[in-house]
């Protein structure tokens, strides 16, 4: 009997052992699956169960932070909470849409589930050391900010706060050549929308501990990351401080692009000309930082801002620095002449046609008269018409998809241009001058709109008051430009105030090996380029 009893107990024992082994295998399998897989729908349901349990068991402080957090994210189905037991219970809270599932499994859940004797948050932080970014937020706003940015938060049950683990999702396009600043020679990398990637592109080129990054958050709702980057011992500290102060003082609902910030960085809010530089190319941004400027990277924008900004910068193309200096000088002269021509040519044409035709060489005058004697409009009206049509076409072309844009250009060129001339509505010289002026505007791509507006204004005043009007307009514009100054930098430097040392990269460019000093018009703490 006893033998049978022992035998039965043995069978039950074996069965129990087998059952336990099976259970352990299943648990191990489930844990492994949990650690490697993405959250599935079934797990989401479990999370919701934990949700109720978690708040039943937590102490006041943690509950308070969690409750506040959940109150803020009320009705957000992408908020996930899991309770993990690893010696003590910990609540793992994350925004599913902002976190990388793989990172959450690898750097948070798996290490925690493998741990059996974690008692405090310090233990958790030690355990999660595999993750690149682990920190203990200081206050609730920081908790909120980290959470909304894709950090996974681990709360303990004793109300000691939480640990934030960097599990941010990396979304965005690849680094490609920026469409707005293509170059024949030189690097083809362009900034992307992700601020972290953009800072990486800068740091890749500035492998020095002097490269400093100050991260700030702007936007009440967007909480956009703004990284102020500069070179210590090169950039002027007062300029850096002013930039940081201005970024911190921005009070706005949402910072959707760096151009929003540019308006705030422009201290005196200029009417026409912008005084904050922008670039899509990391090499250009680095080049500017090496001169003492500050770069501002805004998350979500491929345009990196640079301050201080000089008007001459718009004359400089990224390709200039990879070409022969004499070729660059010639190109810059062409650009400068074409901008002057594009702004003044239409007004001069109107003035000369209407008031001072004697200035025009005789043969040229005869040709113009032959082409315009049947036109029903005065030269003034004719030119204004051409300029307005050109501006409308340009605006429409910018907004059209590229395929339609080509058709629009054809319609503009053939129907409006050729047909209008053939119909005798507009003279060929006016169309030619309008087109020449229009093309010239694009040699300064950042100021095309402003220059176009000025061109219209000068033509208008020139048509009314003749050459006096053109002179007055030019003087007023020059006075206005000369008065501009931002971050201790005169807008028209190095021409006025005259800074002879900075002429090395003005209209004429000195060979790179001869450019031994940094621009004096840009405040900097290190005058020489050799260290």
């Amino acid at each position: 009997m006893s033998t049978i009893l022992f035998w039965c107990i043995g069978i039950v024992d074996n069965f129990f052992a087998f059952f336990l082994q099976m259970l352990a295998t299943w648990a191990n399998f489930a844990l492994k699956r949990l650690a490697n897989c993405h959250f599935c729908k079934q797990e989401n349901l479990q999370v919701k169960v934990y949700f109720a349990q978690t708040f039943g068991n937590t102490s006041n402080m943690t509950q308070s932070i969690l409750q506040q957090l959940l109150q803020h994210y009320n009705n957000c189905d992408d908020v996930k909470i899991r309770t993990v037991c690893c010696g003590q219970q910990f609540s793992v809270v994350l925004l599913e849409t902002m976190c990388n599932d793989q990172k959450v499994c690898d750097f948070v859940l798996h290490p925690l589930l493998m741990q059996q004797n974690a008692k405090t948050l310090q233990d958790v932080e030690q355990q999660l050391a595999l993750s690149v970014g682990t920190k203990t937020p200081c206050n609730f706003f920081e908790v909120l900010s980290d959470f909304s940015n894709g950090y996974t938060l681990v709360f303990d049950q004793e109300g000691n706060g939480c640990v934030a683990v960097d599990t941010r999702i990396a979304l965005g396009r690849a680094v490609i050549e920026p469409p707005t600043s293509m170059v024949m020679r030189g690097p083809r990398e362009g900034f992307v929308e992700d601020a972290k990637n953009n800072v990486t592109l800068l740091r890749k080129r500035l492998k020095t501990p002097n490269f400093k990054v100050v991260n700030l958050c702007v936007g009440k709702f967007t909480n956009t990351l703004v990284s102020v980057c500069y070179l210590e011992n090169v950039a002027d500290k007062s300029v850096v401080d002013k930039v940081i102060l201005q970024v911190q003082s921005v009070c706005i609902d949402g910072l959707l692009d760096s151009s929003y910030l540019a308006r705030y960085l422009d201290g005196n809010k200029t009417l026409l000309f912008r005084r904050v530089g922008s670039t899509e190319k990391p090499d250009v941004a680095v080049g500017k930082m090496l001169e003492g400027r500050v770069a501002i990277v805004v998350d979500g924008s491929p345009m990196v801002l640079t301050v201080p900004y000089l008007y001459i910068e718009d004359l400089q193309s990224p390709g200039d620095y990879y070409e022969n200096s004499s070729m660059t000088t010639i190109n810059r002269i062409f650009r400068f002449v074409s901008v002057l021509m594009s702004v003044l040519l239409p007004s001069l044409y109107v003035c000369l046609q209407m008031y001072n035709y004697q200035i025009i060489p005789f043969k040229f005058l005869v040709t113009i008269l032959n082409a315009t004697n049947t036109i029903p409009f005065s030269p003034f009206t004719e030119m204004l018409l051409v300029l307005v049509i050109f501006d409308i076409l340009r605006e429409a072309n910018l907004r059209m998809p590229s395929a339609v844009g080509i058709s629009l250009s054809l319609v503009g060129a053939i129907v409006l241009g050729d047909a209008a001339v053939k119909a005798g509505l507009i003279g060929a010289p006016a169309v030619m001058i309008g087109a020449l002026s229009g093309i010239g505007l694009f040699t300064m791509p950042d100021n095309t709109l402003v220059l176009s507006l000025l061109r219209l204004a000068i033509t208008f005043v020139g048509g009314i008051a003749g050459i006096v009007g053109v002179l007055v307009c030019t003087t007023v514009i020059t006075l206005y430009l000369a008065s501009l100054q931002n971050y201790k930098t005169p807008f028209l430097a190095p021409f006025t105030p005259d800074i002879p040392q900075d002429r090395q990269d003005g209209v004429a460019k000195t060979a790179t090996e001869k450019m031994k000093t940094r621009p004096r018009s840009i405040p900097n703490t290190n005058k020489t380029r050799r260290g």
């Binding site: 008031y355 001072n356 004697q358 200035i359 025009i360 060489p361 005789f362 043969k363 040229f364 005058l365 008051a465 003749g466 050459i467 006096v468 009007g469 053109v470 002179l471 007055v472 030019t474 003087t475 007023v476 020059t478 006075l479 206005y480 000369a482 008065s483 100054q485 201790k488 005169p490 028209l492 021409f495 006025t496 105030p497 005259d498």
Partner: protein
């Protein structure tokens, strides 16, 4: 940064701009009327006087660098409030007259040369708008504009002079001093109103910042270049036109006739002339600024923003030509005021270093 602060190189280019801005218009013909082909000697004498006075003014600026007192404060601390009022009132009258004559000359130039009969009121309105904008933007903007335009102005005058200079018979200047020393001195005294452009330095005393500790060298260099250019214009003008010079109202426009070798190439010189005319506009702006500062100092007001009524009050006398012949009015007024004007232009500078020293000492030990 103070929006009126300028450095010594900017002051230098400004001196060149105001120096050449007007003296190439009516002055050569007026001098030719007085002393014939010896007009250039009068110009030279007056420039020497101007140079001496300017040096004294710059010395006063250097003394004043420590406490940076305004011209009005210096006067008040040394020659009392009444003395300050009298001097500044005289300067105000001088500036208004100069603005009026400048506007009339440039309008005449546009009318005769460019054949543009713009309405005088529109012309004055445009000038007043430019002046108002400039005062709002600050003197620094004016100085920078003049610095930017300096090479253009210099080259434009030079371009206009190069070809005629090769054509003129220099022998026309002989015999030198034919008009007699007395006539030359008399002409220099009576026409001194048109010179003495250095007076703008008085109104920038507290704003000038020497660049690399250099104040005299850049200013005197550009002054010398400008003076040589004006003398050259006078020489070329009297050599080209001889006895007809006194009847040719606008000198530079007549000289430019000889700049074009072939008229079928068009009058490109008009474009060059237009570029140079910007210096006249800048000069009007500078004098307008000085007149504005006079009002500020006399009334003892410091406007936080540019006062439009004051600008309009300065611009109002510019409408005089609508009712009476401005040339007659100005000529008579200037004749009456020749002595007081000459005192503030050529006597006051000799006292300025002393006045600046006393005022600064009083400021240091009140």
């Amino acid at each position: 940064m103070n929006k009126n602060q300028i450095d010594s190189t900017q002051l230098a280019t400004l001196v060149f701009t105001v120096l050449s801005g007007e003296k190439l218009l009516q002055v050569p013909s007026l001098l030719a009327k007085d002393v014939g082909h010896d007009s250039w000697i009068v110009v030279l004498c007056l420039f020497v006087a101007d140079a001496i006075c300017m040096c004294l003014c710059l010395w006063a600026v250097k003394i004043n660098l420590k406490h940076r007192l305004t011209f009005g404060t210096i006067l008040q601390k040394t020659v009392t409030r009444v003395g300050k009022f009298v001097v500044l009132a005289l300067f105000f009258a001088l500036f208004v007259c100069r603005i009026l004559t400048l506007c009339v000359s440039s309008y005449k130039m546009f009318a005769t040369t460019f054949d543009i009969s713009t309405d005088w009121t529109l012309f004055v309105a445009l000038v007043a708008i430019v002046c108002y904008v400039a005062i709002c933007l600050g003197f620094n903007a004016i100085a920078r504009t003049s610095q930017l335009l300096f090479p253009l102005m210099f080259l434009s005058v030079l371009t206009l002079l190069v070809f005629p200079a090769t054509q003129v018979p220099i022998s026309q200047l002989l015999p030198i001093g034919e008009a007699g020393v007395e006539n030359i001195a008399k002409s220099a005294f009576s026409r001194s109103f048109w010179f003495g452009d250095y007076v703008v330095v008085y109104f920038l005393m507290e704003h000038v910042q020497p660049k690399n500790n250099k104040l005299f060298a850049p200013v005197l260099t550009t002054f010398a270049v400008g003076a040589l250019l004006v003398v050259a214009v006078n020489v070329i003008f009297v050599c080209l036109f001889g006895s007809l010079a006194q009847n040719s109202a606008i000198a530079i426009s007549k000289i430019s006739l000889f700049s074009v070798a072939d008229s079928s190439n068009g009058r490109w010189d008009w474009l060059t002339l237009s570029v140079w005319l910007m210096s006249v506009l800048v000069k009007v702006v500078v004098f307008f600024f000085c007149a504005y500062r006079c009002v500020q100092e006399v009334l003892g007001l410091h406007f936080s923003k540019t006062s439009l009524p004051v600008v309009l009050a300065i611009a109002l006398p510019l409408l005089v030509p609508l009712f009476v012949s401005s040339e007659d009015v100005v000529a008579k007024f200037v004749t009456w005021c020749t002595i007081p004007f000459a005192i503030v232009l050529y006597v006051l500078p000799f006292a300025m270093p002393l006045l600046a020293t006393i005022a600064n000492k009083k400021e240091a030990n009140p």
